[in-house]
Symmetry: C2
């Protein structure tokens, strides 16, 4: 390959920004960067990605497994061979391995749940079962319990409100919940809070199985024996090693006693297939479930309690294992102390072809291309760090420990963190810090969808305009020319970077046209992936072009492409939502209390059924949103001024860039969120009772949602202060642009 022209590193004079330029680049550096990106695209080899995927998914490679370690070494060797400085950063973390898993119906009748998944014809990987982790939920406590079943639907707060209206209490009972609607860890957490003694989580075929589509191997959906594994660690409190919150789990780190670890569940929990759940559910009786609680099994679903009585027993080996993070570094040619970090985990539940390897091979293709660019004379100006995390599945452990371990340096030097994880085909979805919204929109305009030839942005906008599955994006697609990047809750390795350290982050994947039910099952194999998800790595290769552009633009931009109008605009919509949320909660509460008080509920409800009126709730006061509205107005004005200034002045400086990339840090507070100090970010957090689902401006939002009225105005004040800190920094940046 011909060597590329070297970058012109500093543009000496004022250059007017051209809309055709790359955000953060002027015309000249844009041209150079586009040549770099052409080489990036040329370096990506779908066949090689496919080969890596096949190799890395050859056998189960969960954290603590031999294959997991081999994969880490394989990845390290690849990265080393391309020219990276590579280390395998090891952490000693507590990881339970299942020893006993038993669920049996003891009355009426008897049924022993198999708790195993079938091998299927046509997918030889499903017969390679050595070292296979059986279905279980990591960080369930040990225990043996016996009790009547109560069907708790998805096991989220509103489900318990309805059970309460039926006079059903889960105290002393075993809650059986469907997977879905919330992150799985919420289900045992809430069941435990309500007094249940155990939790069973199963995949209902209406949501995830034959109801959704043809099942594996005829189609991609969940086999009747398929079980979704997964962590139930209380990640909304803190993720990572349960014994070392806030500290890297190095050999010498101070550790909690296991008995004191707050993120292990309080009650035992096991997941199961719908094949195993059927005899249990069929043995239940009591009130028939409400219409929208029904699942897809060929039975009438009942709330219980009982008469189905179940004994469950779960025991683990509570071993310390070593998590192997592969950390590959390519020193920046100009700004070695400014780091662009790119990560994807390498551990899987079992073969893990889709999750995480489909994303990992994207990162590897990108890393290889970046290394080739460096060898050919286009070494990134800033330092690139590629990280293949271990132990993400049990609770974002590898990334969290590394982020905690290197917190000070990371906060000081990191420009941004870019994450991928499992990916498929269809439409590009990008979540992340809103300061990167304009940046990613430009990339989506410049990379084409591999099938239609349309830009990724055009195809995504078309989907947002017409597809039923995109209905929540419809309004934005009608009213905006850009695509909003969604605010992030949790569910992958960006969480420690974004929400603990305050590093601007993003998460990217394709989806919508490669659905299925292999998630965290035996069936997440190479064969499944390459039949149903992204045969030929067509979209994987496209994703590498996107993430590669993002990484290289962040690494090379003369002025970092952070932007605040989009941020302010999103904050404005969140503030509006919060006001609406409190108004609607107030109106709904008043209306419901009125209908309870005037006897409408007791008059209307059927005397032949058990459903009673809802509980009277305290009236929702009016809150003083003025501090937040005033802070928002200041933010909008600061953002507009910065925008005008950057249109005049495209270049950056090292000082300015450092001020830019650390803006995200100002969205955090050292004290963290109320009741969960590990989460520092005050704009984005996973919901305390939703888990993966994001809560924006979480202090205010959760205080309203949880009806902690007395906390709302304090939280409004804190959020306003956070925004004012951001505005002040933006004004400082504008003043520096004014006097270059």
């Amino acid at each position: 390959m011909k060597a590329l022209t070297l970058f012109i590193l500093i543009v000496p004079a004022i250059a007017l920004a051209d809309p055709a330029d790359i955000l953060g680049f002027d015309s000249e550096t844009s041209e150079v960067q586009r040549r770099v990106e052409a080489h990036l695209d040329g370096s990506i080899d779908p066949q090689e990605m496919d080969d890596w995927l096949r190799h890395l998914s050859r056998e189960p490679h969960h954290a603590g497994s031999a294959a997991g370690k081999e994969n880490a070494e394989f990845i390290a060797e690849l990265l080393k061979s391309w020219g990276y400085q590579v280390e395998i950063a090891e952490y000693q973390v507590l990881l339970p391995t299942p020893k006993t898993r038993e669920v049996e119906l003891v009355a009426p009748g008897h049924y022993s749940a198999s708790l195993t998944e079938d091998s299927v014809e046509g997918d030889p990987s499903t017969s390679r079962r050595e070292h296979l982790l059986p279905p279980y939920n990591a960080f369930s406590i040990d225990g043996e319990v016996e009790g009547e079943l109560v069907f708790v639907n998805y096991g989220i707060p509103e489900d318990y409100e309805l059970l309460e209206r039926h006079g059903i209490d889960v105290r002393g009972k075993i809650a059986i919940a469907k997977y879905g609607k919330s992150w799985r860890g919420i289900k045992p957490k809430l069941a435990g809070e309500k007094g249940a003694i155990g939790t069973i989580i199963y995949s209902d075929p209406a949501d995830d199985g034959y109801g959704a589509g043809d099942v594996y191997p005829k189609g991609p959906y969940k086999h009747e024996s398929g079980v979704q594994r997964g962590s139930v660690m209380d990640m909304p409190t803190y993720p990572g090693d349960v014994l070392t919150p806030g500290r890297g789990a190095t050999g010498t780190a101070k550790r909690l006693d296991r008995a004191d670890a707050p993120t292990i569940t309080k009650i035992p929990v096991l997941p199961m297939s719908h094949r195993d759940a059927l005899p249990l559910l069929a043995a239940m009786d009591g009130e028939v479930v409400p219409r929208d609680w029904r699942g897809g099994l060929p039975i009438t679903y009942h709330l219980g309690p009982g008469p189905a009585r179940v004994r469950m027993k779960v025991e683990f080996d509570w071993n310390m294992i070593t998590a192997y993070n592969v950390i590959a570094r390519l020193e920046g040619s100009s700004y070695p102390d400014e780091w662009v970090i790119r990560g994807n985990h390498h551990d899987g539940w079992n073969h893990g072809a889709a999750d995480p390897l489909s994303g990992l091979v994207v990162m590897l293709a990108e890393a290889k291309a970046v290394a080739a660019l460096a060898r050919d004379g286009s070494r990134p100006l800033r330092t690139m760090i590629y990280a293949a995390w271990d132990a993400e599945e049990p609770g974002l452990i590898g990334s969290t420990e590394w982020a905690e371990h290197h917190a000070d340096d990371l906060k000081k030097n990191t420009v941004a963190y870019l994450n991928t994880d499992g990916t498929s085909r269809g439409f590009l979805f990008i979540g992340g810090s809103h300061v990167l919204e304009r940046f990613f929109n430009q990339i989506m305009e410049e990379v084409d969808d591999p099938r239609s030839g349309l830009s990724l942005k055009d195809r995504r906008q078309a989907a947002d305009r017409v597809l039923p599955a995109h209905v929540e994006l419809r309004e934005d697609a009608k009213n905006r020319s850009d695509i909003r990047i969604y605010p992030m809750g949790s569910g992958s390795d960006y969480t420690p970077f974004l929400q603990h350290l305050g590093i601007a982050s993003a998460n990217l994947s394709f989806g919508g046209e490669g659905p299925g039910g292999s998630y965290h099952t035996l069936y997440d194999t190479y064969e499944h992936f390459s039949t149903w998800r992204d045969p030929g790595q067509v979209y994987g290769a496209t994703l590498a072009k996107v993430t590669g552009r993002a990484a290289l633009r962040l690494a090379n931009a003369p002025r970092l492409p952070f932007e605040f109008k989009g941020f302010a605009d999103n904050i404005s919509s969140y503030v509006t939502q919060l006001q609406k949320l409190s108004d609607e909660l107030r109106a709904k509460t008043d209306e419901t209390n009125q209908l309870i008080g005037d006897g409408s509920y007791s008059a209307a409800l059927s005397p032949y059924r058990t459903l009673g009126p809802p509980r009277v709730e305290a009236a929702v006061p009016h809150f003083n949103f003025a501090p937040l509205l005033n802070a928002l107005a200041r933010l909008q004005s600061a953002a507009n001024e910065f925008d005008t200034a950057t249109e005049q002045q495209g270049t950056g400086s090292e000082e300015m860039n450092r001020l830019l990339f650390s803006v995200e840090r100002l969205m955090t507070r050292d004290q963290g969120l109320e009741g969960r100090p590990w989460y520092k970010h005050h704009i984005y957090a996973p919901g305390f009772y939703t888990g993966y689902g994001v809560k924006t401006i979480p202090g205010v939002r959760e205080a309203i949602e949880q009806r902690k009225y007395e906390m709302v105005e304090t939280q409004i004040q804190l959020a306003a202060e956070v925004l004012d800190g951001v505005s002040e920094r933006i004004r400082l940046l504008t003043s520096k642009l004014g006097s270059p």
Copy 2:
């Protein structure tokens, strides 16, 4: 019983209406009437109703059966014994009886549908199977066809639009449709129009079976072998005997050739249970159905076509049978030529305990009480006619033939027609002519719910305010002090009176707390009814109080209780709906055409699935609604003037009452509706493609819905003329009130 004071028939001087008075009565006559009603209530005996129910449902008693004739005679004898002049009015009508019913899956694999229902333990009636009609659809054409299956969801127009987007054509195929969403006859009608060669209709367990609740006999819902029988005659074209449209089917009536009868289906059709449907649906393949088409069977549903290939054969004995209508008459003491007609059919599919006998015993209790009042000196002023119709199930045949036969007299003399049919427990639902809305609201205020002691109106309003099932009534419950009576489509014997003759009609039933899946199956037995629907006739007795009051108030009111403000108010809401309908259809059409034209659909739709863009539709023009709006304004003003006049002047006169009750005739036009001249009413009609579902101002509404744009303004003009005719009459009435 002590004899009641005789009515004071004519109040000689002007009496101011008192809100405590009964509508149409002054203070004095109200007091008398209330004493009458107290005796009515005292005469109703739930135990006797229960005995009748048990006797009449002892064995299958469909039209043409021996038990059907016996039941007619039993009812006639009862009525005669109470003092009615009774005749059994006989009509000779074509009624097919099933001879051959075969459905078999011929490939892949083989399955012969049983097409029979199981007897169940705990309900001995289900073992009394002599003379049992097997599951079939009446007025299916004979035929034997073989073809691939296509799954057409509910088989309504929008379902075919979606199939078309998938490139699926039913020509030469057999359509398999779920029961529900439309009247069943629409399914073969539409399938036939689309070119299908046969139709299978089955009850999906998600809608009607274990998905809905515990199945019989554990609970009230549909047994796995249960099949909904029912007519598929094209009743939206005309109901009644297929050979004598518009004429009474007397022995000498002119008849069509069967081959020319337009209301027999064009393709063979059979109903089946979900147990029989399962092997057929499981053998299908092709595209997976959309999310909202999925049913409750434990399979993945596919659209087809095929590979499932089915042979079906249906043959009938096309016999003439005699329909026996029991007509009982109690001559009015003052106005024998003013008739209040009260009807309920007596034929059932099989045992028919809920449908129709639960309503029939209500009518009998009422008729007995009215006769007792007459014997005790309180004979109704107007003539009461109690009618027990035969052959309602195959197509409203008995009532239609009688109404057609006596059309001229009925139009001249009938004050109103009050219908009941199957009833259950819960909330009172009243449909009917809006001129009776205020009348029925007053009755609902005065009769108490038997369990709560609240008035029927208060309990129903509470339900409308809080129950999810009443969500469509929520707005009215929040904003209005009265309860709207719903506009009627079709589905029971009011149709010939209301929509063919223009007689103000109503239909009354309790429901909402006695649901189940026995409708038109073997399981509609005394045991089922008295366990799950209305044990002890508690609500049946209450319904008799309601219908008895309605009948006696109509029979005795010095001034008939018709009222026009409520009518005008309802018309106003329909006119608003029509404008909104056309605006929304225009906006939706423009938007869809735009999204097709700009390529959004083709860009967004999955290349891995068969769904294509929707069809481009002609733009919806703006219609001139002014004639209808002006007619509405005149109607509102006339109604207000009448209302004011009646507040001053509570009495009536024979001339005035005749002008009052014939107002409904002015809502008809002799030419009938476009394409279906039998339907004369221009305010209410069953939908041509919904069947039971009402279309208000049907000429205009269906022209818009069916995109017959060129017809819309003609229909607006016709509707305006109809309303103007009503307004003119109302003004005449007001002028007569002004000069008594």
